[in-house]
Subunit: 345 residues, 2 copies
Amino acid sequence: MNGLGRQLRIVMSERPSGPLEPRHFRAERVPVPPRGADEVLIRAGYVSVAPHARAVMQGPTYRPQLAVGEVIPSSVVGEVVEAPEGGPTPGTVVAAANAGWQEYSLVPLSAVRPLPRIGPLSHHLGLLGLNGLTGYFGMRSVAEVRPGQTVLVSGAAGGVGHLAGQIARVDGARVIGITSSDAKSAVLVDQLGFAAAVNRTSGTFVEELRAACPEGVDVYFDNVGGTVSDAVLPLLTHRARVVLVGVTSHYDADQPAPPSAALPVQAIAKSLRLEGFLVRDFAERWGTALEDLRAMASHGQVKVLEDIRDGLEAAPSALVGMMSGGNLGQLAVQLRPDPADWPTG
Amino acid sequence: MNGLGRQLRIVMSERPSGPLEPRHFRAERVPVPPRGADEVLIRAGYVSVAPHARAVMQGPTYRPQLAVGEVIPSSVVGEVVEAPEGGPTPGTVVAAANAGWQEYSLVPLSAVRPLPRIGPLSHHLGLLGLNGLTGYFGMRSVAEVRPGQTVLVSGAAGGVGHLAGQIARVDGARVIGITSSDAKSAVLVDQLGFAAAVNRTSGTFVEELRAACPEGVDVYFDNVGGTVSDAVLPLLTHRARVVLVGVTSHYDADQPAPPSAALPVQAIAKSLRLEGFLVRDFAERWGTALEDLRAMASHGQVKVLEDIRDGLEAAPSALVGMMSGGNLGQLAVQLRPDPADWPTG
């Protein structure tokens, strides 16, 4: 106990096998644990709702599999309550990636980023958080997108996808999106400058995809995996890059489907490069990346789509809905109002 | 007809589904076709026997699937019989990749390489042919092997693998081989400087492999795919490179097994890069590569293992045997004696 009393948090109550349901979560009130010497205590304003939370409920990713009873991991944006000497002063608004679905998170000082007082606070979970950085480094450093190339994005209306696609468009590519609904496809084309978007639930998805990419696909930015990616394989050009970002088709599956058996032979025949990455691989370049992303948004080159739900209790159903394509853009939950003096534009 | 009469050639008589057998081939005598304006007519001294021949009998690779009745494709080393004006003079010894299992091949002039009169002629099918170039560019340009790294090679006793492993060793890596027999493993360790070699048919293969790579695998040079590669996946280090060279485990399978379902999630979690390539992607650097390879051999840094069979009729059984691991090093068939003045050392 540290004078804060008890806090609300959301833990995994049962490991899902198959589709995620609200019963796999439990809200509970527990004491806020004491702060370690090198830790910052953050009071959450927003927590992210992202497919990675579902992935670790299933198995290990870059972190170990989540245990039953553990808090659901997420990014957080909030205010510092307590920090080690030399750390940010109480009241400082910060972001951190290794937090969770709880009112108060304890995060190592080295993982806390004080936020510049520019623009909407929620953007630091999306455009100026892991999602924006994933799109930025995925397109610029992993795929090395060149002007005139055809770039295909799966999960294109999601938190990462809608930003990644726009970044590639800014860099001169012709960008095609794969979504899970005609309504989302329309938003990408009408509002975000995608050249085309294809609904993967259409009965003629494969034909529509081929028609949307008449010169093949030079870069495939893949959030989804599974049968969608199998359909993309024949369209990849010689020396195409596949950027492996997420496998959302796996996370809700009891027995995730393996990649196409044709993948290795085709990877050789077409000199394909398939590459996964973590944004922390590029930690030294985050400062430049965030400046570039902020500039793209302020110049109107990249538009941010957000879906902000109210209250921590809304997080489980938000994640459940996300797994069946129920979100458009950055999904997050707001726990407290923004600081009164925070700029919104 | 062009005055040469009829020649012996070997064609695919039936498409195999499942393990390759001699009955899938037919030897036949047919007229040598007339030479096209831009073609060189080559009389074969050696033809290669390589897994790619089996691959195209199954399906498309970088070239279309082989049709029933077509000659089995291979590299060739031989003498020029006829060439376009400005091409090599008759009697010139040349190599070409797009030839086949036949006494006379017609190859586009642009694909014919006159050979320097240094060393054994057969080396131009192996060390100084596609196999050596595959090892060279795979290790140096695709994997970018660094001194001190652990490099694992599957199919390590094969035509590509035994050279690739030695090239990585020359570049300062600790090299581990995967083979299909204890005898082949012993040759790699005792004669070629591999740090260790593991027999994939051992009942304790997975444990032996882990023990041989206590610090994990930084580069996996994969000729085999399938369950062998599934066993390597947990050993790959953060940012490991997987060089996709061949999928011999697929070629003889009626229903090739897909890659592990864990591959995409692990590729993201570990920031893996998987990359296929063709040696022709590096065509501009072949000259330098061949000089480097020749120097490595002449300095004794790379030893060439060869398994040369006698007569074109031996080619089908050689390929059938290769698919079950029956070769050590470069497999080829000799059709005619080397030119009397060809240097052998």
